[in-house]
């Protein structure tokens, strides 16, 4: 079975301090957390893989195929702060955007796509908020709208950038439940996580970055005090929130 995400020698950024250097790594199905300090290249990895930013060297393949061929199977969830939530659109409008490859560019949204969008919103608990303008949602609700949009793509691989950052407890539970559901269906989730909490309880694998691969593998093996210390520079006050295995 081909790895859902596989990179070889990925290098991003010029000069002496590239954002990522020579990253070689294969993901496995299930939930993988991508960890590291600020500036470690976590978001960069996702963006370079999707060719949102250029890479200096290296190659990334999805399910054994190049990006263009594999696109229909990939869903991307950017950081919440990357968009203007004041935009005039309802939650349903945003989720429906995921269905764009299946629709005409004009006219009203076909009923089937609208229903698919509603179903995605329901799966994150926002079915009553479909017509609310996104600026009137809380941060956690906005994050769930983004997740619903990714779900509406019906993908096999989900690349998520800090979906649990600054969300309320209900949102956190909902998102984690959805992720576990995806894992049970055999999908793959690569999630950039903003801190070190929840790893042992919820994730199968970790990839720890600090401009390069520090550690990778099952949580039990790779998520250790030693690897964290290496990645985060061994600063005394930076003990993880929960004790690693």
């Amino acid at each position: 079975m081909k790895a859902p995400f596989s990179c070889r020698g990925l290098t991003v950024g010029y000069g002496g301090r590239p954002a990522l250097s020579d990253v070689t790594w294969d993901a496995t199905p299930g939930l993988t957390a991508i960890l590291g300090p600020n500036g470690a290249g976590k978001s960069t990895l996702l963006k370079a893989a999707l060719r949102l930013i250029p890479a200096e060297a290296g190659e990334v393949r999805f399910f054994g195929e190049a990006l263009e061929a594999a696109r229909p199977r990939i869903a991307y969830l950017p950081q919440r702060a990357s968009v203007d939530w004041d935009f005039p659109a309802s939650a349903l409008d945003i989720v429906a955007m995921a269905r764009l490859p299946r629709m005409r560019w004009w006219g009203s949204v076909p009923r089937r796509e609208r229903e698919a969008a509603r179903a995605a919103l329901a799966s994150v608990g926002l079915e009553d908020f479909a017509d609310r303008q996104i600026g009137r949602l809380s941060g956690g609700q906005q994050q769930r709208v983004f997740l619903a949009r990714a779900l509406a793509q019906e993908a096999d691989l989900f690349l998520m950038d800090e979906p649990l950052a600054a969300v309320d407890a209900v949102t956190e539970q909902t998102i984690l439940a959805v992720l576990h559901g995806l894992a049970r269906e055999g999908k793959s989730v690569l999630m950039v996580h903003h801190d070190l909490s929840l790893i042992t309880a919820h994730f199968d694998e970790v990839l720890i970055l600090a401009g390069r691969v520090v550690a990778a593998g099952p949580v039990r093996e790779a998520f250790t005090e030693a690897s964290i210390a290496t990645a985060f520079g061994g600063l005394p006050g930076r003990a993880p929130v929960e004790a690693p295995a």
């Binding site: 999707l50 949102l52 869903a75 935009f87 005039p88 955007m97 490859p101 560019w105």
Partner: protein, 302 residues
């Protein structure tokens, strides 16, 4: 009636088309948080317009349009280059490039002065709506007389063409434009070539700026691009209302400015007419102020 057809109708049509087209496209600038680009494109096209005229000596619109599009393209590239080469943030780099292009355009305008019978500095600064006349009109029947219609100012032809193209593009690409405005990274992840879409939109805006420039000059194009969109942005949360409302408001402001420029002073007993383009811009500013007041009152009442 004949006076209206001969002297007022062309300016009215020009203002309505310019206002409507710029209002329509301006929403995308404001939604993409790129209003500065509207300012930049309107100023940067000047050297292209002048060169287009000067090189061909033609009175037709097409060399001017082509020159403007080339200038817009060069300006966009220049902004990117300045950002990298001078490590300057986008706002300062944009300001540097568009004032430089505009200054170059002014110098070229003077240097090639003899050839530019149709545009001069006053046109650039204040527009020339008042000079659009249709002397071939002899009555309502002229509206259906192709020979008379051929005498309409050529600016109307370009404005109509750009209005049509802009309307078609927005209608046919309704959803992709919305997505690119909201979340270009997600759009790219779906496989859309966002860079090309953005370049296409910018060129369309440059085209609208050229068409409108001949009517209202360089500075007031900015008013028509930005003000209707801002006015709608302040009071609506619905995308369709935003985009179509700004277009309608732009057209209405154009009409109002032209209609009030003559009759208003006459009603006040003054024997002069106000600069129509300036009046459009002033009304646009007042509408934004009104919009802001409505929004503030809504917030206070809530």
């Amino acid at each position: 009636m004949m006076d209206f057809l001969r002297l007022d109708l062309p300016a009215l049509l020009a203002a309505i088309m310019a206002g409507g087209t710029c209002g329509l496209l301006g929403s995308f600038l404001v939604l993409r948080r790129e209003s500065l680009l509207g300012d930049a494109l309107s100023h940067s096209i000047l050297p292209g317009i002048v060169v287009g005229f000067a090189l061909t000596g033609l009175r037709s619109a097409w060399p001017m349009l082509l020159g403007a599009l080339v200038a817009a393209l060069l300006a966009t590239l220049a902004i990117g280059w300045v950002r990298r080469a001078a490590r300057l943030e986008t706002g300062a780099a944009t300001g540097l490039v568009f004032t430089g292009f505009f200054a170059l355009g002014l110098v070229l305008l003077e240097v090639t002065g003899a050839r530019n019978a149709d545009i001069d500095v006053d046109c650039v600064l204040f527009g020339q709506l008042e000079t659009l006349v249709w002397l071939e009109a002899t009555g309502l029947a002229s509206l259906f007389d192709t020979a008379a219609l051929a005498g309409l100012p050529r600016q109307l032809g370009l404005l109509a063409a750009v209005a049509l193209v802009a309307g078609l593009v927005v209608a046919l690409c309704w959803r992709p434009l919305q997505l690119i405005a909201f979340d270009p990274d997600f759009a790219a992840s779906l496989g859309m070539r966002v860079g090309r879409w953005e370049m296409g939109l910018n060129l369309l805006i440059a085209g609208a700026a050229v068409a409108a420039f001949e009517a209202v000059g360089s500075i007031l194009v900015v008013a028509m691009l930005i003000c209707p969109a801002v006015a709608l942005r302040l009071i609506t949360d619905r995308y369709r209302v935003q985009v179509l409302g700004a277009a309608a408001l732009g057209a209405a402001l154009g009409a109002a400015g032209v209609l009030l420029a003559g009759p208003l002073p006459a009603a006040m007993g003054l024997n002069l007419s106000l600069n129509a383009a300036g009046l459009i811009g002033t009304l646009a500013g007042l509408v934004v102020a009104g919009s802001l007041t409505v929004r503030t009152n809504r917030a206070a009442a809530a």
